[in-house]
Symmetry: C2
Subunit: 454 residues, 2 copies
């Protein structure tokens, strides 16, 4: 059997909050004055019920019935044993992948989109704004808003807006409005366009625009939603790892050696890894690997610092690994991983040695994606291909060492909207990016003067 | 619960062959001399193991282990209760849909692609050829060939080749070669291009090219594969209906009132409907509806006649509803339904009154697709939207009559590769097609002189 399904009755009823178990929880967000931002001060950006989740220390947080009802349309997602890939690699390792590509929008992002739309609806909101990189998040929140009758406005990073026209059509099909960022619609967008009319945009810029659009709504019934980075977003994704643990047990696996996820803002990685980290914190022996693109090496080259989540510095300072909020990553096809920062909770697990970060170049990832497509048959998102590339490295290492190993990675999404990238790769038009040292230095320079996290 | 999963242990172990139960099985294919074509004469086109299935009268045909192993990567597919759509329509009907969009290539076509690739491999073939309309079939056979190490060459109808660039990238990602049809590579393609350099192509033309490319391979190790129409293709799809029957029982439904599928060549419709027709032949009271596009009204406007399956008349004469093998349907977005003929087995069930054909216009189908996307959250293929449009008609009728009804339709595929069509619809650029009577007459004229099926 290559696929382990979980009975519907086994769908997790609560999310897992790793903040309750971390040896050193990350510090609080800081305001411009260097003092912690109070939950109330965030109330113009997020509804209060989500702010409560953001600061919660409860280990288990029940998933509301209305959210479960929609998640059940595609969850529990399957856990696949990648037998064809194993045979191709001639490895003694057993490779499993959690298939989050089966959601309506094609990625794990739907898990938190449904929850965020629900909580906004419960808080009486009429409309949400957000940003999107590759479009996975924008289409997910568009889907979720359609379910709860909320209006939805998306600022999409220009380079992805141009590369991935189908994603914006998905958003429109679900009734959302989608504009390219930087846009002329916000002060933040106009400021960027004045400096560079042909700016490719970045997640940091798009976040500034979406936050501005939410907090400046005079009716007060618009809030901002974010697809990654924040504690409550990572919380909603833990259903991935909780299901995976049950499925591995059903598949007869008693021990997991390697857990792998790709990281941009950190949410799909955290979703799979945090429930496993709970075991690791309790003493289990396993390696947990966070894979980022070499062209945006936040965890491997960025310091652990207080930095803004966006370019226009509208967000509080967050304790995280960062390449600097002004860092502009190259326009690689894994658009969802082009983010200067990293979720504070993920950053903290790296600082504490619970998670090992790895950076991999684009060509190795596309080669891995092609091998995966032709063996397992699912065309992965370029983001997910980073996890696949590392799974292949780990499986090859197991072969060289002659060791059985159990490797689990998160297939965070499918690549059906990303086929232009595959076309460019197949035509030999893609290259690895060598990141200019001066670009890195310039980004890190903007961190000067920020407080240092303890 | 909105979704009924079937335990893996309940996956059907055999396909259902309706030929064993039809009151009047269709007549045999005829050669140019008007005499039945012997199975041996088809040996240059198909491998003998599939020809045996084509003419089999056995009711149940076991599914080989190697085929099951690959089907299990995505089967059993879910059966959804469309509760959000029901609420939107305020209907007392219970609407179910079988979700075939979860396969690697995104449609039901994978079910027969895996089987055909397997049987070709078993017969010692090295390479297969095929045609594709919207690209659903081409990408499915490309996927299947990658699983069995077969080379794959696809002739893709020009209008879809241009409208759906991502489909050809899927085929390439899975290692297949894809060219636009009519092409310069075959005598059949060149003949069309000589008449019309800008021919939009059709399934009939592409079939001619793919058959020619198979039978002219001097090594004799190439065979042709077809994604619909033939008995063995429909046979492989019956796993859809067999699963659905079990799932409806699990969902507590004792009686089904209405079974709906869209029809182009007939395979997804047959896959869902044939197991239900077995019950209807045995006396069960239900309506079974085959929905075709009004711009290619094969069942509702075409006579039941002997006709060729392709434009170049390379195929035998088949007893089927046909608009004439020279009929050129308008370039609607439901490219997979643009076929002049209809599966002989489906045609026979219409002639015998077991199945009722219905033709629906493009705009009603896109409106239905949008309502479905925004309620159920899955963006359907334009082909599948024809089934959705009829399901909505039936559900509205149930509301008007104040009747509970159980409606089941086949969501044959997702529309993630078809978003250009959605964009055109949302921008108000689409129109219904009024089919010129002279086009219909011209097509039917080419049927003159063909034998009449009994």
């Amino acid at each position: 059997m290559s696929r382990t399904l979980l009975p519907v009755s086994e769908l997790p009823a609560s999310w897992y909050n790793i903040a309750a178990d971390l040896p050193h929880p990350p510090g609080p967000p800081l305001g411009p004055d260097g003092n912690p931002v109070s939950p109330a001060a965030l109330g113009a950006v997020f509804p209060m019920n989500l702010i409560e989740q953001e600061v919660s220390q409860e280990r288990w947080i029940p998933i509301p019935e209305e959210v479960l009802e929609i998640l059940l349309r595609y969850r529990p997602t399957p856990l696949h044993r990648a037998k064809a890939l194993e045979a191709h690699l001639k490895t003694p390792a057993r490779i499993y992948f959690k298939n989050e590509s089966v959601s309506p929008a094609g990625s794990h992002k739907v898990n938190t989109a449904v929850a965020q739309a629900y909580y906004n609806k419960m808080a009486g909101m009429k409309r949400v704004t957000s940003e999107t990189g590759a479009g996975q998040w924008g289409s997910s929140i568009a889907f979720a808003c359609a379910q709860f009758g909320l209006e939805c406005k998306i600022y999409m990073v220009r380079v992805s807006f141009d590369q991935k026209p189908f994603r914006k059509l998905m958003m429109r099909t679900w009734g959302a409005e989608c504009v390219a960022s930087p846009s002329e619609e916000t002060a933040a967008g106009r400021a960027i366009l004045e400096q560079d009319r042909s700016s490719p945009g970045s997640l940091g810029i798009a976040i500034s625009e979406a936050v501005e659009a939410a907090v400046t709504d005079p009716t007060g019934s618009t809030r901002y939603t974010l697809g990654s980075v924040l504690n409550h977003v990572l919380l909603h994704q833990t259903i991935i790892g909780l299901e995976t643990q049950k499925q591995l047990a059903l598949a007869g696996e008693k021990k997991v050696d390697t857990v792998i996820g790709c990281v941009g803002g950190g949410s799909n990685f955290a979703g799979l890894a945090f429930p496993f980290l709970r075991d690791k914190i309790a003493g289990a022996d396993m390696e947990v690997l966070a894979v980022e693109p070499a062209s945006c090496p936040t965890l491997t080259r960025g310091p652990y610092a207080y930095d803004h989540g966006d370019v226009a510095r509208m967000t509080p300072l967050l304790p995280m690994h960062s390449l600097g909020h002004t860092f502009m990553p190259p326009g690689i096809h894994a658009g969802g991983l082009r983010y200067h920062g990293m979720a504070p909770l993920v950053s903290r697990t790296v600082v504490d040695g619970l998670v090992t970060p790895i950076a991999i170049q684009q060509l190795e990832c596309f080669a891995a994606a092609l091998a995966f497509s032709r063996t397992e048959g699912i065309i992965p998102a370029p983001e997910s291909s980073h996890a696949i590339a590392q799974a292949i490295r780990s499986a090859v290492q197991a072969r060289e060492e002659g060791k059985e190993r159990v490797i689990v990675f998160n297939l965070s999404g499918h690549g059906l909207m990303d086929l232009n990238g595959y076309g460019a790769y197949l035509d030999g038009q893609l290259a690895d990016h060598s990141l200019p040292e001066e670009d890195l230095r310039a980004g890190l320079k903007c961190l000067e003067g920020h407080p240092t996290p303890v």
